[in-house]
Assembly symmetry: C2
Homo-oligomer: 278 residues x 2
């Protein structure tokens, strides 16, 4: 692991790191905020998964999580959204597929299977790296994310309920199998059989019996992707049927940007901190 | 004035606007955050002047001012740092001069005098535009900034003590006339006679009799520009001699980045809000 940069912030340290990822077969970059409480021992870890077109840097620059994470004593880890580099298959003119659009799946189709293994990356390789190199209490992990990363957070939590104590999302893609901006990606990464997509679809995972105790979801009503791409009511229906507690908050006039995310960041950090305490 | 974008944030509206500037003889872009209190009447205006290489966007993205500005009821206006465009004289390989480096002066030398009139722009043309188009209480204005913009805030306040009720700075260039990264710019904008630079140098303005009631200045001790470019002790000496109250806070291990600025943003907003109240 290489340190790209570190900078003191709110009494803690915001760092950027890179490493040669075996899982993704390329160099990967990620950001970690270590709160001041870490000098006294391991702290809980909160994973933030970003949306389409993002890298680790978007939420680091615009997410406004450091002030309260420093107060609450939360480490915040921000992975990239896909494998990167000239050797990684891509569709340069398509922002909904390829680099910047890994969808947190393990691709099975060529030429993507070699690098596009973001599910294993964020659930196995990167956690091992964090555990080995940072003062992280891996028995207390939460996960959240935005849009494609909200999809990532919900699916990762539903598939690993024993590992995560908390999960929330900002404007998540709740049913990627049937949304226009995600279905083609699932098809290219996972093949034409839609049965293979269910393992990466929050609502269908719930239909198939996966469970997580409770979710917090914020969704802006002025979000241009609400009706076609996001459709939180599908998650509401699935959770209601399954008896999963969902706090879905429709936020008047908020859009899909980091102005929306940063507005409700404090609420999400407190939600996680309460569930990661002790 | 054209609206480039608006986005709800923390109950207020973060907007970006552009206009054909007469003073700078080019199109200029700026950002304004209007807090929710503005629906009940005009609110105080806080001007943030940015540093070298920045546009209006850096502090808008990374400054983390909206949460508390929304709570305190402050409008925050963020101008660009220079004139812009293909028709504007520039030194493309020099980040300390030309576009992105207007130094908040009115240039007198060719070919800069036509466009590089950032002093008049931020003290006359843009305030008139803000007053005409936003719910701004122009009787309650404060000003702050970072680095080159800290220099801008201090000099603008010292030259307009009746207009501003508060002034603060993050890591300001306190004596640009003698610092390596600013002296060549003053020479090119204002000519070879260093007497002409004094009107744009905070410490020399104080030596020449300009006054402002009090300043808050934060400065990181790990700031790579501290000893050569910033030198806050020169401001401390000038203020002490002049009887100006200066709260200079050296912040251990903080650098020159927005991680430093955002950490102390709340303190500065509260400083201004107290002085702009009522």
């Amino acid at each position: 692991m290489k340190t790209v940069s570190t900078s003191k912030s709110h009494g803690g340290v915001q760092g950027v790191y890179s490493h040669a990822s075996e899982v993704c077969a390329c160099d990967m970059t990620f950001a970690v905020f270590v709160p001041p409480q870490a000098k006294d021992g391991p702290v809980p870890v909160l994973w933030y998964l970003s949306g389409l077109t993002c890298t680790h840097a978007n939420v680091m620059d615009k997410g406004e999580y450091r002030r309260l994470a420093a107060e609450l004593g939360l480490m915040v880890v921000c992975p990239d959204t896909s494998p990167r580099g000239d050797g990684v298959a891509d569709e340069k003119d398509n922002w909904q597929f390829g680099q910047g659009a890994g969808f947190y799946v393990d691709a099975t189709q060529e030429p993507y299977a070699k690098n596009y293994r973001m599910y294993s990356y964020v659930t196995e390789e990167l956690p091992a790296l964090i555990s080995a190199n940072f003062p992280a209490d891996m028995s207390r992990q939460g996960i959240f994310g935005h849009s494609m990363g909200g999809h990532g957070a919900l699916t990762v939590a539903l598939k690993n309920p024993g590992r995560f104590k908390s999960c929330s999302a900002f404007a998540p893609i709740v049913q990627p199998s049937t949304a226009g901006w995600s279905k083609p990606a699932l098809e290219k990464y996972l093949g034409p059989d839609s049965a293979d997509w269910r393992a990466y679809d929050a609502t269908l995972l719930i239909d198939d019996g996966n469970r997580f105790p409770e979710f917090l979801v914020d969704q802006g009503t002025a979000d241009g992707f609400l009706n076609e791409g996001l459709r939180p009511w599908l998650l509401e229906e699935a959770c209601e049927k399954a008896g999963i507690a969902l706090s879905l908050r429709m936020q008047d006039d908020y859009d899909h940007s980091y102005n929306f995310i940063s507005t409700f960041m404090d609420d999400h950090l407190r939600w996680h901190a309460q569930r990661l305490a002790g």
